[in-house]
Symmetry: none
């Protein structure tokens, strides 16, 4: 639609792992961070900010471990602040931590707003310029340097000359990017455009790109980011699903989709198709253990859901009548809420992915089973092994390797000897004509069940010794009923070569966990026969 | 900030009760609709669209009953479509239903997009103009008429001359307002501004106001609405919290706050203060039985929540450093989250709130305890009751109301009679010199523990009968160790007046849940003594 920006290359900078983790209720484990970084690289995000190595050991470990992964053209960035007031850059612990992270990029944040310099930093305006310049110079000697100008728009309002000087301090000292931050999220699009244009013109003599970093406090973060791109910003910083402090950062999902599909900018994500956006969004929600935002633009479950009879009638005549884009462009799907049935595009997608072929009857059976289970709270996005078993069951190719005769767990607060909480499981299974009975202890009831299940099957299926569990997640599906709510358990397992996810749902967490554990074992046994 | 619109009066048109009810999972009872309409009038919303009287009896009853209430200057609107193709306006059931609603305003929706006229309505372009004109003329004889131009922006793109003709048909027949609808939500702000300006100029010879009606499919509905106001729209249509079909309508909360506080338009809501906005937002969520959107701009629970230690440090020096507006302007409040990213600044801020005072030694002890517990996986940002108990413990003001002698749960897969998974808890507690022993069943082990705990304490503390659990969340803190990972349980409880959050962490989910349950009960008992 807007011709001005269609040819201009725009790079995407993701800070889900750093600024996103400032969001209320967000807390990533090391493995979560690695998993997310790998997915971001797969989809073609150019910059992946991994964390703040000075702040905690988890981020230090992240930078160490992410180096072992091939992220293609994506560059990992370590984040830090300008050096302390009375310290050389090379002696500053934050600078040292950035260098030690050994990332291809560093992101340095510094103060723009004179008020912050004098009142928060307690530095003079000149001292702050020196802190920016010397920190930038030091870091630019080690990696590609992105300078984040904190509070740029508020700072520019307060003291425009000084705000531009802070950018110059960074640009003159080797920064390759100057990202203008609307840190408080209070700026309107027309002002973002105006000030970004001024900053870009002021920096025209330096070899730097301009970036934009918006927060959503006025529900304008997407509009603000697009406005900055319209006037020449070539890097957009944000987070997947807009997670982040207060009202969040800008949602990169909406930024990417708007740039590529609405602004028709063919450079976004290197020109790749966007079919992975919906899956990426849901993967990040699941990893962060956050509720999906159903009405999220482009990727929400309701984003292409039609309820009004008039709309459904029209949609049946021509999809474009009530849809601004084809939902499959972003990997989403149309839903007609009257029938609660997913569209045929879903079945075809499934058919393609799992080699179901053109058997329409089988496709319909699979779809019906997915709908039935989703209504109970199942979600197969990250439970691909359970989904594989579902297809085997529906198509008659599932052969159970054992039958559960009974399981039981006992958990309480006092082990007689250790005086700490305990958990024990007893398991009885049938394999062919043989009954296997065993018991195990664990750190909790699910750990005990897991140990007991594999112990009981060890004699019949020695191959199970290769399995270990690497993640276990619990979600209340239908909150509002307190501890009687329905509970979804996701388990991730590995045999050292492959990892797979399984799921269980029940109002009893023990039963839900047992389902997911059984699926994990059955999947491994089916795979090892293939 | 933007001087262009500050003197221009802008009226707010709420369609929560009609377009909002198209949202997935939204369903209002008659009483819900009356309650919401009354609240909208109290806050000064000028137009309140109540429903579509042709479509159902509930809306007919709404219009009958709302007439009995004094809504001040607010006008109730009944919504309907243009007359049927081959029928006089006065004979059309939809027209009759609108007149029968006896509202001060009617809102008539008609087709702008030529494609919709010929392919969905199966009418000629001229027939559609006659349907608009004759329907408008008929209704304008009964009430103030608002004409909603469906798909105006898409229709204008397809056939600009025809789109303008549809507006003329309504304006020439007595419509007082022409609301331009971005029905599919796919238009960008610059295009909304451009086309709205053209429409306004084309209608300059009529005595009509221009309205704007946006949907959020590109996460741009607020920006689009503001862009239309900037070029002369004087009515904004939307819903409270942006509820509505697909990605929702524009959120009027953000529109109102941006117009009044950012655009400094003193006419919004008749110039009233906005302190009721947060309460209105939550009232609508509760009435619609929808989850609050915590990161909602202006009114969300997290909208002014600060987690990063650096931010909190600055906030303590001057609130404006990380807040774009004073949260009390919209009836919201600042929250300081205790988190792994927090430092002394957060503790000082919280100490202020909990009357810890200036006792540095006590503050240090609290900080040390928070750090110790955070390293174990505790997070106090939503567990404010557990944090309150922590402060009581550290400052020597905690008095335990009971001692756990033992608890134990048994869970398994076969209840002898029902043949489904079962869970039972036994509990032994000491209160003073008395031992209380009890047992309970539940849907799962935690539900059983919860029931058993309160059953065992009912004799000693009858006040506990007021408590119920309203949410239960489980999170694996340190994933990567499978089922032996550390588990964090968050519980939210209520006594009908107050709600409070508690937390427990353990590698055993049963033990973690027990901690959170005990904290919930202890908090209630401490509060009921205060």
């Amino acid at each position: 639609m807007s011709a001005t920006s269609s040819a201009q290359p725009v790079l995407i900078y993701d800070t889900t792992l750093r600024d996103g983790s400032q969001g209320e209720g967000v807390s990533f484990s090391l493995q979560d961070k690695l998993n997310i970084a790998i997915r971001l690289a797969e989809i073609g995000i150019e910059f992946i900010e991994g964390g703040y190595p000075l702040s905690n050991e988890k981020d230090v470990a992240f930078f160490e471990q992410i180096r072992k992964h091939d992220l293609g053209k994506s560059k990992v960035c370590a984040f830090g602040m300008t050096r302390r007031r009375s310290m050389k850059a090379e002696d500053d612990p934050g600078m040292k931590a950035l260098v030690a992270a050994k990332t291809p990029c560093c992101t340095l944040v510094g103060k723009t707003w004179d008020f912050h310099v004098t009142e928060v930093l307690r530095a003079t305006l000149d001292e702050n310029l020196a802190m920016i310049g010397e920190s930038a110079e030091f870091l630019a000697g080690h990696s590609e340097l992105i300078y984040d100008a904190e509070h740029f728009f508020d700072g520019y309002n307060a003291n425009p000359e000084y705000a531009i000087k802070t950018l110059e301090a960074a640009a003159a000292s080797g920064a390759k990017w100057l990202a203008l931050c609307d840190t408080n999220g209070g700026t309107l699009p027309e002002r973002v455009a105006e000030v970004t244009r001024i900053a870009k013109e002021a920096m025209a003599s330096y070899d730097v790109g301009i970036g934009i970093h918006c927060h959503n406090d006025c529900e304008l973060a997407v509009a603000n980011s697009l406005a900055a791109v319209d006037v020449g910003a070539t890097q957009v910083q944000g987070t997947i699903n807009g997670i982040g402090e207060r009202c969040g950062n800008v949602d990169l999902i909406a930024v990417i989709a708007n740039l590529a599909l609405k602004k028709e900018n063919t450079t976004v994500l290197g020109g790749r198709p966007l079919q992975q956006l919906t899956e990426l969004s849901r993967f990040v929600y699941e990893t962060a253990n956050l509720q999906w935002r159903n009405n999220q633009p482009f990727v929400g479950q309701s984003a292409f859901a039609h309820k009004g009879g008039m709309h459904v009638h029209a949609i049946n005549k021509a999809a474009s009548t009530y849809e601004h884009i084809d939902p499959t462009l972003v990997g989403n799907e149309r839903r007609i809420l009257v029938s609660e049935l997913s569209g045929r595009s879903n079945i075809e997608a499934i058919a393609g992915k799992y080699n179901v072929g053109d058997d329409k009857e089988l496709q319909n059976k699979i779809l019906a089973e997915v709908v039935r289970l989703e209504n109970q709270g199942y979600q197969f996005e990250s439970a691909t092994a359970s989904f594989d078993l579902l297809i085997r069951r529906v198509s008659g190719k599932f052969r159970p390797h054992f039958e559960t005769i009974k399981y039981r767990v006992v958990a309480g607060d006092r082990d007689v000897k250790s005086q700490v909480a305990f958990a024990e499981a007893i398991i009885k299974l049938q394999v062919g004509d043989t009954l296997w009975f065993d018991a195990a202890e664990g750190h909790g009831p699910v750990n005990a069940l897991d140990a007991g299940l594999r112990k009981a099957l060890a004699g019949a299926y020695p191959v199970l010794s290769e399995i270990s569990l690497i993640d276990y997640k619990v979600r209340v599906v239908d909150s509002g009923s307190g501890t009687a709510a329905s509970i979804r358990v996701n388990i991730e397992s590995t045999d050292g070569k492959e990892t797979w996810g399984t799921i269980g749902v029940s109002d009893n967490i023990i039963e839900a966990s047992w389902q997911a554990l059984v699926d994990s074992v059955e999947y491994k046994l089916h795979r090892s026969e293939a």
